[in-house]
């Protein structure tokens, strides 16, 4: 859904100006391209005149001027060769300009994504952001390329044609100039009419796509319930409706060509009659008439081209607006110039009177206080939506607190460089992320300079070594996009190994073992124990059994810490935690 504001003329003009600004670095090339375009158009239009002159030298038996003809032929040859060379160079330059701009814009968009606060990327769907960086920029490049190649050339051709026609005979030119807008108007009329049908078609197509996505996405369920026949019937109903609209849209839009061709035929006839009569009167030669006729044939083409370029440009500008919208999103606040680099932190973390919410209407974390001594193990439990993950977002400074402060070793984290703060934490999330690269490269993501021995040692500690060795190419096995060739549990083990290699001074484990079965979990629990020794650790887990030996268990509900203490103390208290703990193991009798 494009925003209305992008379509407003003011917004559109502003976007267009910004697109032009992107072109500015290449203004030298653009000027060259325009010069070549003028040359090409002039020569292309000059050739029919030469041809006409050639025809005039061939009047009848015994009336052929061979030496003159040879000169004309030579001129045609030279013009044609120069035109083609100029045309190729011009196209090549246009490609370079366009693709360079696209590369620049993509680079800027991607770099900007790296600087945006997570609040932006969390609020926009990945698909939307990808389509801005890929599809929209592609659409923009199509528009630019067409704009470069056809808009100026088209306009130059129209102007040039009129000029050359005027130089032959003003009156016949008048006929062409007066009649030709007719085809333009007719084409416009049709495209407006067919636009409505296209919209109905794309709505129905969207409906069909939605239905297909839903039913094929759930095809295993469809089969489990023998629902195939009904599915096909419903599909057919939408399909029928789609083809009705499709027929109309396709037919109406395909009228443009016949109509323009017809208008062209009428103009052609008009020129033939008027030109013939003028020729009888002796005002023009037969060769000039033939030049005129060939101009008439070419004359309507640039009009059609310009129409299609203009629609394409409209789409491009809408796309450009979406790209600029992304580029305009304010980046995360810059670090203060005197930002402190956190070195070898002891790991003392204090949260003082922290308030935070994602949206002002729904306050989430309120007056949260917490202090973790170096080396302490802090567990966070509570029902879904109580703010556990938010707390991690704040610790990592993915989001900034609204009021209060978070301090590491006594420094407010807003005074630290983001890089030194974040690399001080080792983070394992429930959502495993691996990139499509070799297993080795993935494990060494946080420490690209690690030796093979170190990588293998880390994998062994995370109990990932044995399954890695069973992969077809061991550590060199390339992980498919999204980790398709690994199970969820295996992916989690790799993420754990990735952290084992970095040995950061503090740890954040957010449901780090949720996809690993309890038996394997026991095995890697040992590795975690070693890892956590002497490191301040924050652990979020829904399996309460994994956090029983934490130094401090925070029980959160609705953004507040409602209880805290050790496992035993909390059970003793028989409050929310004890209830949560009991419900987890309620048996059926």
């Amino acid at each position: 859904m494009r925003k209305q504001t992008d379509q407003a003329p003011g917004g559109r003009a502003r976007t267009l100006r910004r697109v032009l600004r992107c072109i500015r670095p290449y203004s030298g090339l653009v000027a060259l391209s325009l010069a070549l375009s003028v040359l090409t158009v002039a020569l292309t239009l000059y050739v029919p005149i030469l041809t006409g002159r050639g025809v005039d030298l061939i009047v009848g038996p015994g009336q052929v001027d061979f030496s003159g003809l040879l000169a004309v032929i030579l001129s045609i040859l030279i013009s044609v060769l120069i035109t083609s060379a100029a045309q190729w160079v011009m196209n090549h330059i246009n490609n370079q300009i366009t693709y360079h701009i696209v590369q620049d814009l993509r680079g800027r968009a991607f770099n900007h994504l790296q600087e945006l606060p997570l609040s932006y990327t969390d609020q926009h769907s990945t698909g939307d952001l990808i389509s801005r960086v890929i599809t929209d920029i592609d659409q923009l490049s199509d528009g630019l390329l067409l704009g470069f190649t056809q808009l100026f050339t088209g306009a130059a051709t129209i102007a040039g044609t009129i000029f050359f026609m005027l130089s032959i005979d003003p009156w016949i030119t008048l006929i062409v100039v007066l009649l030709s807008p007719l085809s333009f108007v007719a084409a416009n009329f049709i495209s407006k009419r067919s636009f409505a049908m296209f919209q109905r078609q794309s709505e129905t197509r969207g409906e069909l796509t939605g239905f297909t996505n839903e039913l094929l996405g759930g095809i295993k369920v469809v089969q489990a319930f023998n629902h195939q026949t009904q599915a096909c019937e419903e599909f057919d109903a939408i399909n029928r409706r789609l083809s009705e609209f499709s027929l109309k849209a396709t037919f109406y839009s395909s009228l443009t060509n016949p109509v323009t061709r017809f208008m062209c035929a009428v103009i052609y006839a008009g020129v033939a009659i008027a030109g013939g009569l003028t020729a009888i009167a002796g005002k023009i030669t037969v060769g000039q008439l033939s030049s005129f006729l060939s101009y008439t044939n070419q004359y309507t083409k640039p009009f059609n081209d310009i129409t299609s370029v203009l629609t394409e440009l409209q789409n491009s500008i809408a796309s450009a607006a979406r790209v600029f919208e992304l580029l305009d999103a304010p980046p995360a606040p810059a670090e203060p110039t005197d930002a402190v680099v956190l070195r070898h932190p002891k790991g003392e973390v204090r949260l003082e009177h922290v308030d935070f919410s994602y949206t002002p209407e729904a306050p989430l974390i309120q007056d949260l206080n917490l202090s973790a001594a170096p080396g302490q193990r802090i567990a966070i439990v509570g029902p879904t939506g109580c703010g556990k993950t938010t707390l991690i977002n704040l610790l990592m400074r993915f989001y900034d607190v609204h009021s209060g402060s978070i301090k590491v070793d006594g420094h407010d984290i807003r005074q630290l460089t983001r890089q030194s703060l974040r690399t001080s934490y080792g983070m394992v999330l429930q959502e495993t992320w691996l990139r499509s690269a070799s297993i080795r490269d993935n494990l060494a993501y946080g420490r690209p300079d690690a030796t093979d021995e170190e990588v293998i040692a880390a994998a062994k500690k995370a109990h990932a070594h044995s399954f890695i060795m069973r992969m077809p190419e061991g550590y060199q096995t390339v992980i498919a996009e999204g980790g398709g060739n690994l199970s969820q549990g295996q992916k989690q083990l790799l993420c754990i190994a990735r952290i084992m290699l970095c040995l950061p001074p503090m740890l954040i484990l957010d449901e780090a073992t949720s996809s690993i079965d309890t038996r394997t979990e026991i095995h890697i629990q040992g590795a975690f124990e070693t890892l956590m020794k002497g490191r301040t650790s924050f652990i979020v887990a829904h399996r309460l059994s994994t956090i029983q030996n934490a130094d401090n268990i925070l029980v959160m509900n609705q953004g507040r810490i409602i209880e805290q203490g050790t496992h035993e103390a909390l059970l003793e208290k028989n409050g929310f935690y004890a209830q949560l703990y009991g419900s987890q193991f309620a048996s059926e009798d």
């Binding site: 009336q63 996405g217 599915a231 009888i280 037969v286 983001r418 983070m427 499509s436 193991f585």
Partner: protein
């Protein structure tokens, strides 16, 4: 291609009409240069003004008739293409419905969606353009050459040389650039992948402070895309200049040859102009043809992909005997069953043997990747086992009709999939004519009644696609209810209560147990507490059976089961306390 021909054959009349009228239109267009030649030779030279008017009127008439033909052709082309598209889409969708899980896994659902939507549209558009232009252009090219020969055979010689040269230029450039365009597309996909990957892992990237490396990586991919685009652009930019040169060389030849013919007296000036006009017509048509070839090659690629789906035959067809009535036979029995996924060397399951009587409950437990879901999918015959035998009520499952099996087996996978529409419509998936009572009974058992009632819309409660307006636990309960509506003989709950809290899960199991006496229930879970009350428990470890018996028996004898229990041991203790 055969599929396309088959769909075309459904409407032979429509399909023939479009090209036919196109050709008629083109023939009228080819007459125009002849008329103009007459105007010059008969009208201008003897200064016959009225003749010019008559011929001018004739030109307009030719235009009108051509216009009529052309509109007719456009209509039939649109009609034919739309019919072909509709038939292909319908057949493709229906064909996909016959696939077994094996084919679905191999092709992938997102690919299948693309085939049904984008690819069929491409084929439809391509076929429409094909009908409109592909026959017209060669016809005009050849027609123009023929007309040139009727004007004057000796002066028309340049046509014989120019046309093959033009065709060759177009052919060579297309041949060289198409694979390069494919590479550009692949590189664009890589750029897309980089962006996607980065966005999905944005927290990890920042946690490791690797933004700068990510930027460098992206720059590299984007730079490579630029180089490929400019390279292929340079090659295809040759097309216009080269064809332009070829045609103008043809015109030069006509002037040179024509000059000599006119001098000799067997060609007129008007005819020279006609020849030049034919040459220009050829250029226009060939450029259109080249653009069309690019468009058609896309459509052909789509057609190829659609055909690949059509050519995939379901490995399990809906044939066989109906499921026999339940007699004194075990409801389900596995005899030394093994299974390997297509293309995989390693067996995901092997040596599985057990049998369950009607009304019994069997628990299946094991770690991630132990093969629990694989086993569950063998019972409704979503896959065929690769060794051993599975029997339903004593009959080898491979002799039974899949649709009949699925009418007797209800399976609820871990990921609850619901469909947009009312709750009632979703529930009736289990049984087409399910009554209100039957649905409410199922909702009661599935512990879903309470939250459904709280929404106060009854069975008309609208569900969004994939149950977007429900929580994970609510979706799972509705999915269980949907399976219960059909009152299956065998119910398989494949970790389908994982999002429920322990207490609700326990109530659910109790309700199923008490209200469905004759139903055979498979409980698949990672939680000991969920399966400990089952009549039998099968312990799976890495695809192999690690133990089989009751909770007590396994606690005494099975090492893997002991370990699983020990890892959840805290729970046992707490339960004992409570």
């Amino acid at each position: 291609m055969r599929r396309l021909l088959h769909d075309i054959a459904l409407h032979p009349f429509l399909t023939v009409m479009a090209p036919l009228f196109k050709m008629l239109e083109a023939s009228f267009e080819l007459l125009v240069p002849l008329v103009v030649a007459r105007m010059i030779d008969v009208g201008i030279a003897p200064k016959d003004g009225p003749y010019l008017w008559r011929m001018g009127a004739l030109l307009v008439l030719l235009g009108v008739v051509g216009f009529g033909f052309s509109i007719t052709a456009q209509y039939f082309a649109a009609k034919s293409a739309v019919s072909v598209g509709m038939a292909m889409r319908r057949d493709l969708f229906a064909h996909i419905q016959t696939f077994s899980y094996r084919e679905i896994d191999a092709i992938g659902t997102s690919t299948l969606m693309n085939r049904v939507t984008n690819d069929v549209n491409q084929v439809q558009n391509g076929f429409n353009m094909f009908l409109r232009l592909f026959l017209r252009s060669p016809f005009v090219v050849l027609g123009a050459m023929l007309m040139a020969f009727t004007v004057n055979a000796r002066a028309a010689v340049p046509f014989v040389v120019t046309i093959p040269v033009l065709l060759m230029v177009i052919f060579v450039i297309l041949l060289a650039s198409m694979p390069l365009y494919k590479k550009v597309q692949q590189q664009l996909d890589r750029v897309l992948l980089s962006t996607r990957e980065n966005l999905l892992g944005i927290r990890v990237v920042r946690a490791f402070a690797r933004q700068e490396e990510e930027k460098a990586r992206f720059r590299q991919e984007a730079g490579s895309l630029y180089r490929r685009q400019v390279f292929v652009g340079g090659i295809s930019a040759l097309l216009n200049p080269l064809t332009y040169v070829a045609v103008n060389l043809g015109i030069i030849a006509i002037l040179a040859l024509g000059g000599r013919r006119v001098d000799a007296g067997d060609l007129t000036q008007g005819e020279v102009i006609a020849l030049i006009n034919y040459m220009s017509q050829i250029l226009t048509e060939l450029v259109k043809l080249a653009n069309l070839v690019i468009l058609l090659s896309k459509a052909l690629a789509s057609l190829g992909r659609v055909n690949a789906v059509f050519e995939t035959r379901p490995s399990i067809t809906d044939t066989g005997e109906p499921v026999p009535p339940a007699e004194d036979q075990p409801a389900v029995s596995f005899e030394d069953v093994g299974f390997a996924y297509a293309g995989s060397q390693e067996e995901a399951l092997r040596g599985i043997t057990f049998s369950v009587l009607p009304g019994e409950t069997i628990g299946i437990i094991g770690g991630t990747g132990a093969g629990k879901s694989t086993l569950a999918n063998l019972i409704p015959r979503f896959y065929d086992c690769t060794s051993g035998t599975i029997r339903l009520f004593g009959q080898d499952i491979k002799t039974l009709r899949p649709s009949s099996i699925r009418a007797h087996v209800g399976i609820v996978p871990q990921k609850a999939t619901l469909f947009s529409g009312s709750l009632r419509k979703n529930m009736q998936w289990g049984k087409e004519d399910a009554t209100e009572e039957e649905i409410y009974r199922a909702l009661d058992i599935a512990q879903a009644r309470e939250f459904v009632d709280s929404k106060r819309k009854g069975l008309e409660l609208p569900l969004q696609q994939n149950g977007g307006n429900l929580s994970g636990g609510q979706k799972q309960r509705l999915a269980i209810a949907r399976a219960l509506v059909g009152q299956p003989d065998i119910l398989i709950l494949d970790d389908s209560a994982s999002a429920l809290d322990f207490a609700t899960d326990a109530r659910l199991r109790r309700a199923i147990h008490t209200s469905t006496q004759t139903m055979t229930v498979f409980l698949i879970s990672q939680r000991v507490s969920a399966i400990r009350g089952a009549d039998h428990i099968l312990v799976l470890d890495d695809g192999r059976p690690a133990g089989y018996g009751t909770h007590q028996e396994l606690l005494a004898s099975c090492r893997v089961y002991q370990e699983i229990c020990a890892s959840q041991n805290a729970g046992e203790g707490a339960a004992a306390h409570a």
